[in-house]
């Protein structure tokens, strides 16, 4: 069980790095970073928790708090980065088909 969860964590961390290297623009990179990095670190922390619980017989509540905290805050930070990048005018990838928030950006840039 420890081996399975740590393997899932390692695989998804590698997927995060590959996604950050290969994807074309900021928004797809935040997509890769927020989701797969969350699952990767959750897998590794679950493996650590199970190792300390099953092998060394030591219950550690800090790891549970860390798992819950990362699960809540990592998508939030991904959302904040994407929104800040859009509002500060980072351009989309050239494969983008439609941009529904263009009206909002124009309104923000010049408020009258």
């Amino acid at each position: 069980m420890i081996i399975i969860s740590i393997s899932v964590g390692v695989i998804f961390s590698v997927v995060t790095a590959l996604g950050l290297i290969r994807l074309p623009d900021v928004y797809t990179r935040t997509h890769a970073a927020s989701k797969s990095a969350t699952l990767g670190v959750l897998g590794i922390l679950t493996g650590t928790f199970l190792h300390f619980l099953l092998i060394e017989d030591h219950f550690n509540p800090q790891l549970i708090i860390a798992i819950a905290f990362l699960f809540i805050t990592s998508p939030v930070s991904g959302h904040l980065i994407g929104r800040a990048a859009y509002m500060s005018g980072t351009e989309l990838a050239k494969e983008t088909v439609r941009d529904d928030m263009k009206i909002l950006r124009k309104k923000t840039e010049d408020p009258k």
């Binding site: 900021v26 935040t30 670190v41 990362l70 904040l80 990048a85």
Partner: protein
């Protein structure tokens, strides 16, 4: 078991190097912030694996601390590039 932990640590270190590549090369500021966020998360998993390898439970407080610090740093950077300030002034005083 110990060999498995070492191999996992090695693979995550390679992922860390890949994130460093994006941090150095990234064309915009938001790319670098995304890379820093992912670097903090990868550092958390490296510390978890190190505490498994060294068989100590004293590193586990660092994990929670580092995840909180990474979140606060990311929020501060996002607010900075969105509005130009981090702490808003009070409007009338």
């Amino acid at each position: 078991m110990m060999t498995f932990y070492w191999v996992a640590l090695l693979i995550i270190s390679f992922a860390f190097v890949g994130l460093l590549y994006r941090l150095i090369k990234g064309p915009s500021i938001a790319d670098r912030i995304v890379a820093l966020d992912a670097l903090g998360v990868a550092l958390v998993s490296i510390i978890a694996l190190l505490s498994l390898i060294l068989e100590t439970k004293f590193f586990l407080a660092i994990i929670l601390l580092l995840s909180i610090l990474a979140f606060i740093g990311t929020v501060a950077f996002a607010k900075f590039i969105e509005r130009g300030v981090i702490f808003d002034r009070k409007p009338n005083r």
